[in-house]
Amino acid sequence: MASPKTVPKDAQVMMQILKDMGITEYEPRVINQMLEFTYRYVTTIIEDAKIYATHAKKSTVDADDIRLAIQCRMDQSFTSPPPRDFLLDVARQKNQTPLPLIKPYAGPRLPPDRYCLTAPNYRLKSLQKKVSSSAGRITVPRLSVGAVSSRPSTPTLGTPSVQTMGNKVGTPVSLTGQRFTVQIPSSQAASVKTATPTTPGTVQNVLINPSLIGSKNILITTNMVSQNSSSDSSGSLKRKHEDDDDYDAL
């Protein structure tokens, strides 16, 4: 505890109050809390009293105003629990009704929905850019798979090329389907990967950022070499083959 010389008078008063009430152990912050509370309470009361005095067209605030202010604040913030006889009365009434029977096979037993907090408190706004379901228009702007070392001339899975690839594939790509795979013909893959050693048969699965296309997952399976799964597709979320990151040939 700070020495009495440096402790302000108000704090000394608080310490004396605690001592009078028999409280010997307390954290030092308690004094600050008490001072804050006192200051706030007193200013609130005096402000209220001033309002009442001006309302009664008095020039100065007098004891009656203070008394009224205290009374009003007491009913508002410092309420005390109801008296015992009232509680006993209410309890007697409540305890007379028999306990309700429990319905069997009711699932989770919760009050009616009005009284629960299970309702959604948000609403979804519809997206501006509606992605249409015409074939081939897959917008995956940020993905490029395995073709980093190749020159941009080679088709990467960028926006335009996917379209073309999709067209080449010819499969009707429908965005409304849940999952679909776009198979990139191996011939093309081979042409892409001329510069890089090929490891045949590796299939790489890449998950495209689903938020771009809605909530569906689109799985694009390629027969390309798995080594060069680049990491510059910053937007893509998850790669099923995490170890490919090690082989970053950038």
Binding site: D20, P82, P83, L88, A91, L99, I102, L117
Partner: protein
């Protein structure tokens, strides 16, 4: 009496008869205009006084002279003087009683409103003429009290202990009456003189009283208001009571007698007067002891029958039947499997006394797990103590306010002062949320591991935080089926959280004041909560309003616990009593007094017969529910006992306290020493054996971590929890 007065000073005199003014008649008229009103009042007062005393000549004289100045001629000064001299300060008993009778007579005839106003200037006139809500001259309270004290000290030893019980309630009631009637200085003097005589365990209440000096202070303090309106119960033997009655009536000390009749309830019993130690062990609560009638209702403390479960594995059958037979009181049917269902434990409630939820398939699986674990349970005893595993919460900064474990000890929940609730997984299995609705429609519902598939692996983590409360969380409780978690907080709500989605489902609003504790029933579906509003409420999860309200305590309810058969609820309170309530009709069936501090923890024994309680006085008390008696007290802790738990078979009682220790007590030994013959059962006076040292099996210290919660796993390993306190 022959003092010379003039108009002004005459008002200060104590009923001095006015004839002396005749000498200064000249002075009087001069002063009269300035204090005309007061003189009039005094005049009328004196007139009345003289009339009452039948001093007719003086009355006439006064009337004659009234307009001129104030002096009747002569009143028999001796009588008036004698009457006047009997006013405040006299310690002569006969005068006191005569004044008393005059006061009562006067207060009834205090029909003169004007003279009453002159009270400030003539204190004794005001005393006589103002209307009191009760009789009695405030300055004589000290006289009455010291008179009683002298009497009790002179009485035989055997009665003295019992009659000394009167001191505290009389002291408090007299003090409160003085304060209520605005006699501040007399109240202060009364308090200073006699507060030191009271018992040490009333010190806390006396401190509260000392801060109560004005009538306005009383309005906000509902504890003391309740004390004023409720009756303090004293248990006194018939002989002592006769002594007291005789003394009070022959002394005409009606004031004390009035207080006794109005505010005290004396429960008279026939038999030997109790000794000081017996009285001390039972007293300490705010409302005295419990009346004998309060503890007479029959309580069904037996356990409910376990349902028959077709255990799929074959050799489990034997153990299953044995386990079901175990909790009963001495059931001789370990052999026959058929007759078990017919016999009913006379002390157990009917199965359908209160509606209970039926067992779902998952509950039955749980029960099978429980029975399997029970077979591997270690039998504890004085020779084989349990191992204790302590979970320390680090960096909680004194914010940990509540802890609970699930029954199978797989989850741990903590309530914090920053209004969060955190759930941890104690086993290596992580906590997972259920998938969103969109994902759930994708999974194969017919597969065997559908319960794992509905969990979202992406959300796996060791700890989940639940946000929702707006105040410190003071109570947490898991449901028995591990689907729900309850938390009660200072914001007045009790919240139900789902442990599947880790979101809040319902906020039950009813208490408008901090809720200090809450607990699920052992069968789920019901839960009880108790808080600052002195009422405990019984809720069901599917009703937004409470089903039962248990009102009767005089101060905050700090602890609420269900009986193992879910038919009774025990509440411990800051008024130092424990009450046992019947869920069926809300009646209070038992009141246990004896603690000297607010009660913070309760524990029922697994067989349902006994209740253990711990409080701020560091003692653990054991109660027999059936008879309503205190069985023993376990002394040892030096600080508040915050946690109590019986082992799974009831052989060991573990207690954890703020003094950073966990102590183990031999419960079987403590219960063995119960004598329950007719006398003790009728009067409730059990002689407690001082065997705390023999019953204590071990003390285990933590590193400056107060113990908040204790839990025995199904195999009788003791888990405990607390927050590290670096100071």
């Amino acid at each position: 009496m022959a003092a010379v007065q003039d108009g002004g000073s005459e008002l200060e005199s104590e009923k001095e008869p006015q004839p002396e003014l005749l000498n200064d008649g000249s002075a009087a008229p001069a002063a009269a205009p300035t204090s005309k009103l007061e003189e009039q009042q005094t005049l009328l007062a004196v007139l009345q006084f003289l009339k009452r005393n039948k001093l007719t000549e003086a009355v006439d004289a006064l009337r004659r002279e009234a307009g001129l100045s104030d002096e009747p001629e002569e009143a028999p000064g001796s009588e008036a003087g004698g009457g006047g001299g009997a006013a405040p300060g006299s310690s002569d008993r006969t005068d006191a009683s005569s004044l008393l009778s005059r006061v009562s007579a006067a207060s009834q005839s205090a029909a003169a409103p004007a003279p009453a106003k002159g009270g400030e200037d003539q204190p004794d006139v005001s005393v006589v003429l103002s209307a009191y809500s009760q009789q009695g001259d405030p300055s004589l309270y000290q006289v009455y009290y010291s008179g009683l004290k002298k009497f009790i000290e002179s009485v035989l030893d055997c009665h003295r202990a019992e009659l000394s019980q009167l001191f505290y309630p009389l002291f408090v009631h007299m003090y409160l009456e003085l304060v209520y009637n605005n006699h501040e200085s007399e109240a202060k003097a009364f308090f200073d003189k006699f507060s030191g005589d009271q018992e040490c365990y009333y010190l806390d209440y006396l401190r509260v009283l000392s801060s109560l000096t004005k009538k306005e202070h009383m309005k906000g303090n509902e504890m003391l208001l309740d004390f004023r309106t409720s009756r303090f119960v004293l248990r006194i033997s018939r002989d002592s009571y006769q002594l007291l009655k005789r003394h009070l009536q022959e002394r005409q000390n009606n004031q004390i007698w009035n207080i006794i009749q109005e505010h005290l309830y004396i429960d008279i019993f026939d038999g030997m007067p109790r000794s000081k130690s017996q009285i001390d062990s039972m007293s300490g609560s705010l409302a005295g002891e419990a009346k004998r009638d309060d503890n007479k209702t029959k309580v069904f403390y037996g356990l409910l029958k376990e349902p028959e479960i077709e255990v799929p594995l074959d050799d489990e059958d034997e153990e299953a039947e044995n386990e079901e037979g175990k909790p009963k009181k001495k059931k001789p049917k370990k052999d026959s499997m058929g007759s078990k269902s017919k016999k009913q434990d006379p002390n157990a409630p009917q199965q359908n006394r209160i509606p209970l939820p039926e067992l779902k398939d998952s509950d039955k699986l749980d029960k099978i797990m429980y029975l399997k674990e029970a077979t591997k349970r270690i039998r504890l005893g004085p020779e084989s103590l349990p191992s204790i595993c302590f979970y320390t919460f680090l960096n909680a900064y004194q914010g940990l306010t509540a802890v609970d474990f699930t029954d199978d000890s797989s989850l741990l929940a903590g309530g914090f002062a920053d209004s969060t609730v955190r759930v941890w997984s104690v086993t290596p299995k992580k906590l997972r949320k259920v998938k969103s609705a969109a994902d759930l429609s994708l999974i194969d519902k017919e597969s065997d591991d559908v319960l794992e598939r509905i969990m979202d692996e992406k959300t796996a983590s060791e700890c989940k935080v639940l946000y929702g409360h707006s105040g410190p969380v003071y109570g947490v409780s898991f449901s028995p089926d591990r689907n729900y978690l309850l938390s009660s907080s200072e914001d007045g709500t009790v919240r139900l959280w789902s442990l599947q989605t880790f979101t809040c489902l319902v906020a039950y609003k009813g208490h408008n004041y901090p809720v200090w504790d809450t607990q699920f029933s052992p069968y789920g579906y019901y839960f009880v909560s108790g808080g600052h509003d002195r009422v405990a409420r019984l809720w069901a999860t599917d009703h937004y309003q409470p089903l039962r309200m248990f009102a009767g305590h005089l101060a905050d309810i700090t602890c609420t616990r269900f009986h193992p058969n879910s038919n009774y609820v025990a509440t411990g309170s800051a008024d130092r009593t424990i009450r046992l309530w019947d869920v069926l009709n809300g009646h209070c069936v038992r009141i246990f007094t004896g603690h000297k501090g607010p009660i913070h923890t309760l524990a029922f024994s697994p067989n349902g017969k006994y209740l253990a309680s711990g409080s701020t006085d560091g003692r653990v008390l054991l109660w027999d529910i059936g008879h309503g008696l205190m069985i023993s007290e376990l002394k040892g802790h030096t600080d508040t006992v915050y946690a109590l738990k019986f082992s799974r078979d009831g052989e060991i009682l573990a207690s954890g306290s703020m003094d950073n220790t966990v102590r183990l007590w031999d419960a079987i030994k403590a219960f063995d020493d119960v004598e329950t013959d007719d006398f003790t059962a009728a009067t409730g006076h059990v002689h407690l054996a001082d065997n705390s040292q023999e019953v204590l099996l071990g003390t285990f210290l933590t590193k400056s971590t107060p113990v908040i919660h204790l839990h025995f796993t199904r195999r009788n390993l003791l888990l405990s929890a607390g927050a590290y306190n670096s100071q």
